[in-house]
């Protein structure tokens, strides 16, 4: 019943999240035809690759050089448009919003005390309330990403399903980390706004760090940028399981476990 209740509470947001992702992807794919022609014209002039080498930051240089290379253009473009901009940014925003529904909204609406007095373990309550947004976020990522299989032929491009699925798995793990972080934050704060502000501050800081060349290696967004997605989507590499996925999964589970311990052992606040 908690699953059903949480789904009904969040169904609108989950649907909106998926539709926004899908709409952004659709617009990006449909625009690709024009952009591809422009890039081809400019590439003929021959100075773009020279110009690209002059770009000082790796995180700008690599996408630029991939975009001017005819063989790499489309996966590079989709990486930037869908996985880095769409899924990462919208997914993290979705995780933040849906995460505040897990505990903070119950507390703010004064329904948590009644819920906790029922004969259900706190661990079960937390798990079921987290599971619904987790499934919704993953569904949005996988469905919108797999729609590339249908949308790409519209602009005479193809992307294989395997790399799309691997990128979706990675994107889901990234989003789950932020969902777990929001759940943990909501064990500290009494309101949705407070929880969202705390996690939002963390995200903004991480994002700011990403754009500072010397410290960007410590930014969380280094785990989910062009340099991670592009080799996977272009089929050059598989999922960096040991280097990124496993530590990310471990960090997500650790954050969720911390939220679980705080919620189960803590008092009603």
């Amino acid at each position: 019943m908690i699953l059903k209740k949480t789904f009904r509470e969040t169904a609108g947001i989950q649907l909106a999240y998926f539709l926004v992702l899908e709409l952004m992807l659709l617009v990006a794919v449909l625009w690709w035809g024009d952009l591809r022609d422009v890039l081809a014209e400019i590439s003929r002039l021959g100075f773009l690759s020279v110009l690209g080498k002059l770009i000082p930051f790796d995180f700008l240089k690599k996408p630029f050089l991939s975009l001017v290379d005819p063989a790499q253009r489309y996966p590079a473009y989709i990486t930037l448009q869908h996985f880095f901009k769409g899924v990462d940014i919208m997914g993290i925003a979705g995780a933040l919003l849906l995460g505040t529904f897990v505990l903070a909204k119950e507390r703010e609406n004064r329904t948590l005390e009644l819920l906790l007095s029922l004969p259900a373990s706190r661990g079960r309550i937390l798990l079921e309330k987290t599971l619904v947004p987790a499934l919704g976020l993953a569904a949005g990522i996988f469905l919108s990403s797999l729609s590339l299989l249908v949308l790409s032929p519209l602009v005479k491009e193809t992307l294989p399903a395997g790399p799309i699925l691997l990128c979706s798995i990675h994107a889901t793990l990234v989003v789950y980390f932020f969902l777990a972080l929001t759940v943990l934050a909501s064990t500290f704060f009494r309101t949705q706004a407070g929880t969202a502000f705390a996690v939002g501050l963390f995200i903004a800081t991480e994002f700011a760090l990403y754009f500072v060349q010397k410290v960007r290696v410590v930014s969380f967004f280094k785990l989910s940028d062009f340099e991670v997605y592009y080799p996977i989507l272009s089929g050059k590499e598989g999922l960096p399981f040991l280097r990124i996925e496993l530590p990310l999964l471990a960090a997500t589970l650790a954050v969720y476990l911390a939220a679980h311990v705080r919620f189960v052992r803590g008092e009603l606040k």
């Binding site: 209740k5 509470e9 004064r110 005390e113 906790l116 007095s117 004969p119 008092e267």
Partner: protein, 297 residues
Amino acid sequence: MIRAERLSRRFGALLALREAEFHVPRGSVTGFVGPNGAGKSTVMRMICGLLKPTSGRILVDGLDPLLRPLEVRRRLSYLPGETSIYLHMKGREFLDFLASFREGRDGELERRLPRLFELPLERKVRTYSAGMKQKLALCAVLSAPVPLLLLDEPTRGLDATMRAQFMDALDLLREKGRTILVSSHHLADIEKVCDRMLFLLEGRVVPHERVESLRRDLSKRVRVRLAEGFRPEDLTLPPGSTWEVRRGWVHITPPGEPKALVAALADQPVEALLWGRAELEEIYRRLYLESAGEGEG
């Protein structure tokens, strides 16, 4: 059913509960009375295992809520003092939602309580008035098939008619043998429905002996309203009697049994006379004044 042993709870510098000791017998309807901040909600939350005692312990059916929380919560149904309900649900869905956590359902209560409270269960909760929401929460909590009901300010937001409906519901539950602990500021209502009282003042439970002694003392008191133009000094009272005027009534305390005083007042300029068992509100007021250091002796 409930036993508190030297139960204390501190919130930072505030000692909300001070070595409170009490028990609630099985099958009783116990009123939990005290001013705001006395610690009533704290005690109820401790019974549910939502708060931990700083020292001492509380047992429900011999079980510690902190050590065996699920077993305790399977035995009780709790209405928090400040609660709300899920606005996106219909009334019936809310009842089903809470019932889904229980093993089994009490079909009779689930039929009778919504009728008693006149609840439109097929409507969305967001269309309910504040009183209807409170009645729905009450309905959900009271219809649980559990031996213990904890009701923290259940009549909050209810008008007189709704409060009467609630009293009828408690009578129904009493007949079913439920143990009920109920706190309320409507002392007259509490008095009608409860067979025991627990007074909580400044985090301490007032001993039963003190309450009974005060009740005996106050029951001796005779209250009279004087005819127009007369003053208390005009009355002829048995020697040793004392009096005070409060809200237009003269409260007279005789030195011995009040029968002689009542007889003596029959021929005097008295418009109305009240005498009998002390009301809860009066006892509460006296205890409150005593605890605040302004006792009248």
